[in-house]
Symmetry: C2
């Protein structure tokens, strides 16, 4: 219920997911009657799909204007709270939300708790590049981080990249302002040796411009910078298309040209469209959660459901816990 576009996109996303993915059923959480009515209407008599989508009641909605921690305490029957409760009670494996992302994170931590050994759960996100998408963590959950937090983000994101993106040894970079060792702020300088001493495939500092080249698989940074990076990229991509459109409208020649290359431009748009990448996994919680953009459409939600299913099947959380303890043992033997 929490996305900007109301429940229809969630219902259409769920229907698309069960039609295209095997061994999957989706529970829609929200006002029972409304959801059942719209579900029947939007399924258009597809009884196979309908048999795999059900509705679980939740009477309250947390809006984008609610303060996350207050909201999840006061609205105990909010969709996002009830959703994570379904995981806690074993009725669901994973949760996808396009609602208030702060509230989604807060509800996840409150209902499911953190994975053993994790100090701070965070949010990872896929960014488009000239090659394969890169995973960036954290993109907004933790605004003031210590080196130990960034180290844990790296372990979590690398485990996730290895299983979801099928990368044997994901190349890990630390976001900084120069590639040389020793460049960066105090946090980067403190984090660098931790990553270097780990068994992760750490390639060193990476700069903002390296991200879009696609030569790195995972990039870690604190959530303040990660969020600014995400929003700036969205803003620039949006502004670039607007600027191109403005220039095109100035000439008939360019307008005809635009009609001919519209296909190529829409392919480009699809490539940089964050919706294509299936939302942002919450990593570090004792369960599986995916946060989607508030403006997500049915396709974005379908893709997020696919990522949630993938994370559950590959048991990303078990890998995180295992790596965290293995690496600690290795690091201890290094420092001894």
């Amino acid at each position: 219920m929490g996305g900007d576009s109301g429940p229809d996109v969630a219902i259409l996303g769920a229907l698309a997911a069960v039609r295209s993915l095997d061994d999957l059923s989706v529970v829609l959480v929200g006002p029972e009657e409304l959801l059942n009515t719209r579900l029947r209407e939007l399924a258009r008599g597809d009884s196979t799909a309908l048999s795999r989508v059900s509705v679980h009641p939740a009477s309250e909605i947390i809006t984008m204007h609610d303060v996350p921690v207050d909201a999840i305490r006061k609205k105990k029957d909010a969709t996002v709270v009830v959703g994570f409760d379904l995981i806690k009670t074993g009725q669901a494996d994973a949760m996808v939300s396009a609602g208030n992302s702060g509230a989604t994170m807060a509800a996840a931590v409150k209902k499911l708790g953190r994975l053993p050994g994790i100090s701070r759960p965070g949010i990872a996100s896929f960014f488009p590049t000239l090659k394969k998408p890169v995973m960036i963590m954290d993109i907004g959950a933790n605004v003031d981080c210590r080196a130990q937090h960034l180290y844990q983000f790296a372990v979590m994101a690398c485990a996730c990249s290895r299983l979801l993106q099928r990368r044997e040894q994901p190349r890990l970079g630390l976001l900084s302002i120069g590639e040389e060792t020793g460049k960066g702020n105090a946090l980067v300088k403190e984090t660098y040796p931790l990553l270097q001493a780990s068994p992760l495939n750490f390639i060193g500092n990476v700069e903002g411009r390296d991200i879009y080249r696609g030569d790195v698989d995972v990039v870690v940074c604190d959530g303040f910078i990660g969020n600014i990076l995400l929003k700036t990229s969205e803003g620039l991509a949006d502004a670039a298309l607007k600027m191109i459109r403005e220039e095109i409208l100035k000439s008939w020649r360019a307008k005809i040209g635009y009609l001919l290359m519209r296909g190529a431009l829409s392919q480009f748009k699809k490539k940089v469209d964050y919706a294509e990448y299936g939302g942002a996994p919450l990593l570090g919680i004792n369960g599986t959660g995916i946060i989607c953009h508030g403006s997500s459409d049915a396709n974005a939600l379908r893709n997020a459901i696919a990522v949630a299913a993938d994370m559950t099947r590959h048991n990303v959380n078990a890998a995180i816990v295992r790596h965290l303890s293995e690496y600690r043992v290795e690091q201890e033997s290094i420092t001894q």
Copy 2:
């Protein structure tokens, strides 16, 4: 001498500047014989222009690989050191450099010192937007800042925007991860009340996506984030054009379309091209300095010379010192 393209672009930039701007002469700093030879060749007999471009000898060059502080100490006859010496001794008003930016900043501080009341000089830069360019400070000189530093960046950048961009009351934003008061990291939360209590036209927190909309004139942030913002934007703009080109090459239809709208695309490229915006002013030093991208062409250097001349004519530094002391008095009366 310090740019990636060698001295020719600097000579051509200087010639273009004296041809298009009145009351201006340019001193080229570097190997005397080489510069004089190339200057005569590139001027192609334009004796009017030649009469306004001279050469001052400097035998050493600081490369992009040199460590800034070491380099300016060891290479006392480096172009960038000699250049700021010319300002110190009253032989020049301003300095433009496309060399090692860390060394340029270090040489400026060493030779000219800081303006009274300024704890940390910084680098401002103009970013293209859907409307007018926005000025962002700091873009890399100070990686770990305190609130007082961001406050001073705001005073300096607003004074500069007012005089150079002719904005009566520049709208000032604080880069954060949410527009609401109270959102952001510890530094932002500490800086916010300082800006709010100042006579600056502070509009509150701005997000990454707001920058490119052009609804804000000046944005302050610490140099670590500012540098990542700059590099990420460059990387994304570059990747976007490459992705569009890749898509175009896939179809003949799109190729013809591209030929027809090439003019519009090159206008767009010009709009987002940082070279068009005349380099990045060093603010807070007791003199005028402009740092240019290492890959600057003659046009970029001409524009940077124009900005340097403008800063000198409008006496931006005097305005900074005046505002800093006026605001302090006002702030003291507010807190009493």
